[in-house]
Amino acid sequence: MRTFAIALNTAREAIRNKLLYTILFFAVVVVAVAALFGSVSIGDPLKFVKDFSLMSVSLFGVAIAVMLGVSMLHKEIGRKTIYNILAKPVARWEFIVGKFLGLVATLTLVVALMTAALLAIVAAFEGRIDWTLALGAQMTALELMILVAVALFVSAVVVTPTIAGLVTAAAFVAGRCAGYLEYFGGPEQPLALRGIARGLYWVLPHLDRLNVANQVAYGDPVAASYVLTVAVYAFAYTGILLLLAIFMFSRRELV
């Protein structure tokens, strides 16, 4: 009940944020422009449109996730609205979980809206709805869920929102490149580099595994078992980060 109330209020705050609509507007514009350019590009125009549009959905989603994920907790503390909440029978874990659920619900809605625009544009070209695009969007939603957990964890530790934002954005970039760590962790590499690479391999979120835009755009099949495995991974990684965020936040003084 309390967690739900906080989640609902978090979603309401995000939905009433004008910046969200600005980013959403630009995302739709970019998808439309991609369609326009795709129609005059060399090669298969639809593949270009699908690939570029899925990338846009992901990048704009990431921008919103970082912006909302980092600012929500800092705003609550900075504006002291948190005093009104935590002086009530609300445990700190309920507050963090509520914030997380509200942000994830908002981002899922945002991804759904952008995906609906993408499906409509592609349908206008193809004359049919390509539902495989929705799979790519679902994976993006899982990626954003992890990023929200990262943002909340970093916000629970770091005092400055700018630093929290930079760290979360860096986690996204590093997570997308996590596959390269396998190379640096290989036996032919120096011991120190191997150690660091293997450490990072276990710590960083493997967001590259959640990026199936290419397969979807080029019509390559994505196995159901693969989707299930990465979904389990995403939920497990998110769960562990949330536990850490709750632990750090419960130790934080609200001076």
Binding site: Y83, N84, K88, V90, E253
Partner: protein, 310 residues
């Protein structure tokens, strides 16, 4: 009747991140509040009032000491029976007044019709009906303070903690807030509030705690007649010998005003001796009055040394 709130050896210190020096914000505070009491915590800015209240409601962790609510440690569950108004309450500016109260009612676990009824009653009681659909960002300081009180009262709290509830209010707003606090006693609520305005505390409190420099210096009862600090005896037709005898039991030399002499006597025993002396010398007692320092005098007695340190 036992106490509703018991604070034992409550201490809070922080370490300066640059010098690693320990800074004591609150030092060994002990306090016990009776049911239905109105208790004021008064002190200058930075005395430790807000720290005390934040420690009580659990927004800060004590370095030492305990807070007991109705005999049990004050935990998350116990906060269901406590209302808290933070200093200069901040709200979500994108919500309306009714949405704000509904949100906080959900946090108290109120559901369905009970939640709706409670919100409506508080909107009416705190004269917020006209502002029901107004966004919080458009409200005046006084109205925000009323919303703050309303959110603190949502769960019909047995203990209400108000941090500077009259801060920034105009005279009418202050009078309304005083009436509101007095009225809460009638519905069985114990109230603790902080203030640095003495008349506000004097107007509504049963007892007042003077806090300065992070220490609770003195608790003053404002109910009934407190034991006087001294007695002022005024006499006339006194011989030089009788006056000398009188001055021996007095706190200082006698002051003359025409044919009347006045002395300050330290206690009841001194009064008895002085009265016997006057009667033995065939003198006339003009008046005998207890001397009680005002709350302001008591307050300044503790605060002045702090100010000197500043």
């Amino acid at each position: 009747m036992g106490s509703i709130l018991e604070v034992k050896s409550l201490t809070k210190y922080v370490n300066d991140p640059w010098t690693f020096r320990r800074i004591t914000l609150l030092d060994d505070l002990n306090l016990s509040l009776a049911h239905h009491e109105i208790f004021g915590l008064i002190g200058p800015n930075g005395a430790g009032k807000t720290t005390t209240l934040k420690l009580i409601v659990g927004l800060l962790r004590p370095s030492r000491g305990t807070v007991l609510f109705e005999g049990s440690p004050l935990d998350v569950v116990a906060r269901a029976a406590i209302g808290f108004l933070p200093e200069q309450p901040y709200f979500y500016d994108y919500l309306t007044v009714e949405e704000t109260l509904t949100f906080f009612a959900r946090l108290y676990g109120l559901s369905g019709a009970d939640r709706r009824d409670r919100v409506l009653v508080l909107l009416r009681d705190l004269h917020l009906d006209a502002k029901r659909n107004a966004p919080m960002r458009t409200l005046s300081k006084g109205t925000l303070q009323r919303v703050g009180i309303a959110q603190a009262m949502l769960a019909r709290p047995r203990l209400l903690i108000l941090d500077e509830p009259m801060s920034g209010l105009d005279p009418a707003g202050r009078a309304h807030m005083r009436d509101l606090i007095r009225g809460l006693r009638g519905v069985g609520t114990t109230v603790v509030f902080s203030s640095h305005v003495l008349p506000d505390a004097e107007a509504v409190c049963d007892r007042v705690g003077i806090i300065a420099g992070g220490k609770l210096r003195e608790i003053v009862s404002l109910q009934g007649e407190a034991e006087p600090d001294a007695y002022l005896l005024s006499v006339r037709r006194m011989t030089a010998e009788a006056l000398a005898a009188l001055q021996r039991v007095a706190m200082g030399p006698a002051a003359a005003n025409g044919e009347i002499w006045s002395v300050r006597l330290p206690g009841r025993d001194a009064v008895r001796t002085a009265v016997d002396t006057v009667h033995s010398a065939d003198g006339v007692i003009e008046s005998l009055m207890p001397v009680r320092p005002s709350l302001e005098e008591r307050f300044l007695a503790w605060v002045k040394p702090e100010a000197r340190l500043d």
